[in-house]
């Protein structure tokens, strides 16, 4: 379990993390989402004690990271897959990490097998592809068989097979009862992976809820309808507090009302519907909506040609 309480970090005048409080529970994958520059990496660095909080505190299993009895047996982290000495072989890299916490050599061989790096374990990691480096980083995180695992943007730059592998691994780690905390700036990556989401923007907490709730809340609710009588439907929908957009191919998108409500309105007002379906707003869309105000470097609208 990871608990942040009023966590804050400033670099000079720049606020990277601002009064952040959240709890990451065991037994599920918790996605840590936010646009680039939202403060995700800084938060993870503070969890590991690499950066000192300006205010507040963060604990892992009830203690600050540096005070854990055996850090590797409690927390495994992959912040940056390239944060290894490229001149050292994968095996020696893992061995030197294991030795700090008196983890036996047999476990080093074991994690190399788990991530499938047997063939290159004796090679210098300088020549590793990003995917291989990610596997090496994950092997390092697993060395101590920890309860808490933390991954910063683990699928960045991976091929689809690598992404799928990491996704399955995270799910299986959570199923084993571990705390899995994984950051991403892409909502789509979380869609099939996370059970719970913590969303931040400009260092502030925006949402902390189960992934299902994220799309079901009011702002994201939408219904797709087709009707020959656009004008009247628009009238009754607006009167009932909904909003209506013209979609593709004669479709209309109603926001702010459920499919049941739209159907009832149409029946009551005698409007013929050809089609009625709840539009599952994608997580991506919901995420964009939530973080729109907090994107640090917002792209200018209008593309220069």
């Amino acid at each position: 379990m990871i608990e942040a309480r009023g966590l804050a970090r400033r670099y000079g005048d720049k606020v990277a993390v601002d009064d952040l409080s959240f709890t990451v529970q065991p037994g599920r994958v918790t996605g840590f989402l936010g646009p680039n520059g939202a403060g995700k990496t800084t938060t993870m660095r503070m969890i590991l004690g690499l950066d000192r909080p300006t205010a507040g505190s963060v604990t892992v299993n009830g203690k600050p990271f540096a005070e854990l009895y055996s850090a590797m047996r409690e927390v495994g982290a992959l912040l940056d897959a390239k944060a290894v000495h490229g001149g050292r072989s994968a095996y020696k890299h893992l061995l030197c990490l294991a030795q700090t916490n008196s983890i036996p050599r047999s476990r080093v061989d074991e994690v190399i097998g788990i991530v499938g790096l047997e063939d290159v374990a004796r090679k210098r990691s300088k020549g590793f592809s990003l995917g291989m480096s990610q596997r090496l980083g994950i092997a390092a995180a697993l060395l101590g068989d920890p309860d808490v695992l933390m991954f910063d943007e683990p699928v960045n730059g991976l091929d689809p097979e690598g992404i799928r592998w990491i996704r399955l691994l995270m799910r299986s780690l959570a199923a084993e009862g571990r705390t899995v905390f994984v950051s991403s700036h892409l909502m789509s990556e979380m869609e099939n992976t996370a059970d719970h989401l913590i969303v931040i923007g400009r260092g502030k907490l925006i949402a902390d809820c189960p992934i299902a709730e994220f799309t079901a809340d009011g702002t994201a609710l939408a219904t797709t309808v087709k009707t020959p009588d656009d004008q009247r439907l628009a009238g009754v929908v607006t009167a009932a507090g909904g909003a209506l957009d013209r979609g593709e191919a004669d479709e209309l998108t109603v926001r702010g009302l459920s499919a049941e409500e739209v159907g009832q309105l149409a029946l009551t007002n005698g409007i013929l519907l050809h089609y009625l379906a709840p539009a599952r707003v994608s997580l991506e869309e919901a995420f964009m909506e939530l973080t729109a105000d907090s994107v640090e470097y917002q792209a200018k609208t209008g593309v220069q040609k």
Binding site: F65, R73, A83, R88, K92, Q99, N101, G113, G144
Partner: protein, 277 residues
């Protein structure tokens, strides 16, 4: 349906044994030994140091044999000057790299992620580097001495380990290299940048004694014993009781440089523990 070529296996096959004690210095020393012995820069720098020290001993002693000895000749000093003066310049590269490479590669974040007790990591790294350097320097120091004496023996200029002050000169010549290495380690921890750290140390070692030459003679005579590199190293390589009355004794000069190293190591430690990694 696609099948991933790497199957997802459970992350635990056999349980990892619990820690008998809180992880600390012993494990971190083993880890740092694995680290220093698993990168090529260690072997290159130590080999360069050995070759330079031994080759210099051979050249200087052969020169002495062909040109004859002058006043102030000291058989130990001729064979050990290369070890002290060249070894010092080469070892600072390794001393700095041992710590700056952690920053340049990003490895420091991984290292502190497994051993968050920073004072343990900092001291283990320094101790392992010092032990490896001192071991290799002892071998090169003795080898340079014996090679040099073998060459000097053709004119019977040679001395033996049993003669007064000779064993001290051989041992201190190995130790001073280690001291300069630790000085570089401290500087590396302060600057955290390989090229920056190495350049500043070499700059200080080369420039300060050179600039000091511009001082009036009497001033120079007063400060030379405190200057890193150059003449102040000579009493360390010599078996004589006193090399010059402007310089301290062998132990005195050794203490001066050890003092510099201690100050830099302490500042480095303070910053290593306090700063964001």
């Amino acid at each position: 349906m696609t099948t991933a070529s790497i199957p997802v296996t459970p992350a635990r096959i056999r349980a990892v044994p619990a820690a008998a004690k809180r992880p600390g210095l012993p494990g971190t020393l083993r880890s740092e030994l694995t680290k220093i012995l698993s990168v090529r820069s260690t072997y290159w720098t130590l080999l360069a140091q050995a070759v330079a020290a031994i080759a210099w001993a051979a050249i200087a002693c052969a020169g002495t044999v062909s040109h004859g000895i002058g006043p102030g000749f000291n058989a130990a000093q001729v064979s050990l000057t290369g070890q002290v003066a060249l070894g010092e310049l080469i070892i600072v590269v390794l001393g700095a790299l041992v710590i700056t490479s952690e920053y340049s590669t990003g490895m420091i974040r991984t290292s502190l992620g497994v051993m968050p007790r920073r004072s343990v990591l900092y001291s283990a790294k320094a101790m392992v580097f010092a032990a490896v350097t001192f071991t290799v320097s002892l071998v090169t120091s003795f080898t340079a001495f014996f090679v040099g004496q073998a060459i000097l023996s053709s004119k019977h200029y040679n001395t033996t380990l049993g003669a007064p002050g000779v064993l001290r000169a051989v041992l201190l010549s190995a130790a001073i290299v280690t001291v300069f290495g630790l000085l570089a380690y401290g500087t590396g921890a302060i600057i955290r940048h390989s090229a920056g750290a190495i350049t500043s140390i070499l700059g200080v070692i080369f420039l300060i004694p050179a600039l000091a030459q511009a001082l009036p003679n009497s001033w120079f005579a007063d400060v030379v014993r405190w200057l890193p590199g150059g003449q102040a190293l000579m009493p360390i390589a010599s078996s004589a009781r006193s090399v010059s009355n402007h310089l301290f004794s062998a132990w005195g000069e050794f203490a001066v440089f050890s003092g510099y190293a201690a100050v830099l190591l302490a500042i480095g430690a303070w910053l290593f523990i306090r700063r964001d990694a």
